[in-house]
């Protein structure tokens, strides 16, 4: 059974003010259901990252409505948005953005602490994720000591710890070669399907689009389904 996770209605975003105002996003509407993995492509400067930041509660839209899990994000305070990020949204960044002084296991533990999850249940989930993503042998390694692909897998594991509703991936394959990049996206796809999450991935890489359910093209602030 598919349920609606994210809904954007006529979302616009302006940057700057007065004469220099630029409309970066123009009247964007989008709905994503559980178990759906959506790709967002387009040239740089087209507004992909801005859209991702708005969905990720890092920016507020100038106009329009966003609901995540039936909660209206467009009318939330900064503090509430912070809470949303900790509880319902997860990021996978271009570079893995792991904390350099924490081991793989500790990275995941930190995420659990931030989201104020119960220790026992989380320990279980952390171990399961580490197993799923093939990181068992790397559990006690620091980010510097593992490969780029492994780091990105840790980032994926971190994104799933707090049992988020939606995963936002900002060019997760940018720092990887094509083979490893594909593996990483396969893993995201697999986790999304098996855990019934929603995911949006911004990418430049056409070769991995076949792993996504839908592909959207972004151009000059306008969103089109391909």
């Amino acid at each position: 059974m598919k349920s609606e996770i994210l809904k954007l209605e006529s979302v616009s975003k302006d940057f700057g003010d007065g004469d220099t105002q630029i409309r970066v996003l123009k009247d964007i509407s989008l709905t994503i259901n559980s178990g759906e993995f959506v790709a967002l492509v387009g040239p740089s400067g087209s507004g992909k990252s801005t859209l991702l930041s708005i969905i990720g509660a890092l920016l507020s839209p100038t106009e329009g409505l966003i609901t995540l899990d039936n909660q209206p994000m467009h009318s939330m305070s900064k503090k509430q948005l912070n809470r949303m990020r900790a509880d319902k949204i997860s990021f996978i960044f271009q570079s893995s953005n792991l904390i350099p002084y924490l081991t793989v296991r500790e990275q995941l533990g930190l995420m659990a602490t931030i989201s104020k999850l119960e220790k026992e249940a989380t320990d279980h989930r952390i171990d399961a994720l580490i197993r799923d993503l093939g990181l068992e042998k790397r559990k006690h390694y620091y980010p510097k000591e593992i490969s780029g692909g492994e780091r990105q897998r840790v980032a994926i594991a971190r994104a799933f710890i707090n049992d988020p509703s939606i995963i936002l991936a900002d060019e997760p394959t940018a720092s990887l070669d094509s083979k490893r990049g594909r593996q990483v996206v396969e893993m995201i796809s697999m986790e999304v399907k098996s855990r019934k999450k929603a995911a949006i991935m911004v990418t430049h890489d056409d070769r991995i689009l076949d792993l996504c359910d839908r592909v959207y093209q972004m151009e000059d602030g306008i969103l089109l389904e391909k």
């Binding site: 930041s53 809470r83 900790a86 960044f93 931030i114 940018a174």
Partner: protein, 354 residues
């Protein structure tokens, strides 16, 4: 808090360097504080411990103890005007004869032992119990090889005296003080007639016409060079502390700037600003405490191996006070980094390759 500790553990060199700077500067602060205290002590401890509330000097002395001279006529004039108990005081610098060795410089504080207040005695008799020819000496004389009931000989007059008691904290111009009674006659050693530097009075609200009356504290301040020395040391200490707080705050600020991206990531995944701020504060407090502990230990160590003549005095009380002050200032300095953290936008985490 766990984050704070893990980071320090993984970046040992970086935090070791900060700690080293703190240790070095704090050590210097302790060293200078102790030296200024020690020098002040060796110079004037006997004056600050005078058993009196008010000190009467002649007008011409302008408050300077050693410039003042009062003869017997003055004393009887003061006697008429003052009801309270008083004792004259004469300060005479001389030396003690010592067989086969260099003589030892001392200062005689000649007082009326029956009327002078009770000074702290660490060994032997109280000042009021002294018999003829007996004196009380500062315990620093022990380091010169004298002990209780030894007979000492003044090298100028050849007078023999017996050390009947030892007092403490009575040094003047780096010389041990010896309390002698008027009957020993040191008040006329140089001038032939009896001359005193001051009259020491117990009790406040005294007015004596024709003479200057001041507190012991004022007398201490007007010792030539005393205020100047102490003021220079205070300036040095103040600047040292300001510089060290500045250096460590800037250090932490630079580290914070380096970690802007990382903090952005933490914020993006939902960590609260206050949690990050707490992490920084915990690190500042931790490193400052380490710096204080090590420099404190190093200071105590160095005091043990330095020659005893170096006048070092630093009480635990003062050490703690300096430490707490430094800690508070460092925490205030860390607010610069905390302010920076509040300005970090979680958007930092997006679209950048490390």
């Amino acid at each position: 808090m766990l984050l704070a500790w893990k980071e320090i553990k993984r970046n040992k060199i970086r935090y070791f360097l900060i700690s080293t700077i703190m240790v070095a500067v704090l050590f210097l602060v302790f060293f200078i504080t102790a030296l200024s205290n020690g020098l002040g002590y060796a110079d004037t401890a006997a004056v600050s411990n005078l058993q009196a509330d008010q000190v009467i000097l002649n007008k011409e002395a302008e408050g300077v103890l050693i410039k003042s001279g009062l003869d017997n006529k003055d004393i009887s004039e003061i006697d008429k005007q003052v009801d309270e108990d008083f004792s004259p005081l004469n300060i005479t610098i001389s030396s003690l004869e010592k067989e086969d060795k260099r003589s030892v410089d001392v200062v005689y504080f000649t007082v009326d032992i029956k009327r002078y207040g009770n000074i702290a005695i660490v060994e032997g008799k109280d000042i009021k119990e002294l018999k003829d020819g007996e004196v009380i000496a500062d315990e620093s004389l022990k380091k010169k090889g004298y002990s209780l009931y030894d007979t000492i000989e003044d090298s100028r007059t050849g007078k023999k005296m017996k050390i009947a008691g030892f007092t403490t904290d009575h040094v003047y111009s780096h010389m041990p003080v010896i309390f002698t009674d008027l009957s020993l006659g040191f008040q006329s050693l140089y001038s032939g007639s009896e001359v005193y530097n001051a009259v020491l009075v117990k009790g406040n609200n005294i007015s004596v016409s024709g003479y200057d009356v001041q507190t012991v504290e004022d007398t201490l301040k007007s010792i030539p060079g005393h205020s100047e020395t102490q003021a220079s040391f205070t300036v040095m200490k103040t600047f040292l502390i300001i510089i060290s707080v500045f250096v460590s705050s800037v250090f932490f600020y630079v580290i914070t700037i380096q970690k802007v991206h990382q903090f952005g990531v933490l914020k993006a995944i939902g960590m609260k600003t206050i949690t990050i701020a707490k992490t920084i504060l915990a690190q500042v407090v931790f490193l400052t405490l380490i710096g204080l502990a090590i420099s404190g230990l190093a200071f105590y160590g160095i005091v043990q191996i330095l020659p005893e003549e170096m006048p070092f005095i630093l009480s635990t009380h003062l050490l703690l006070l300096t430490g707490v002050l430094f800690l508070i200032l460092n925490i205030i300095g860390a607010m610069l980094s905390v302010w920076k953290v509040t300005k970090i936008d979680p958007l930092e985490a997006m679209g950048r390759i490390e």
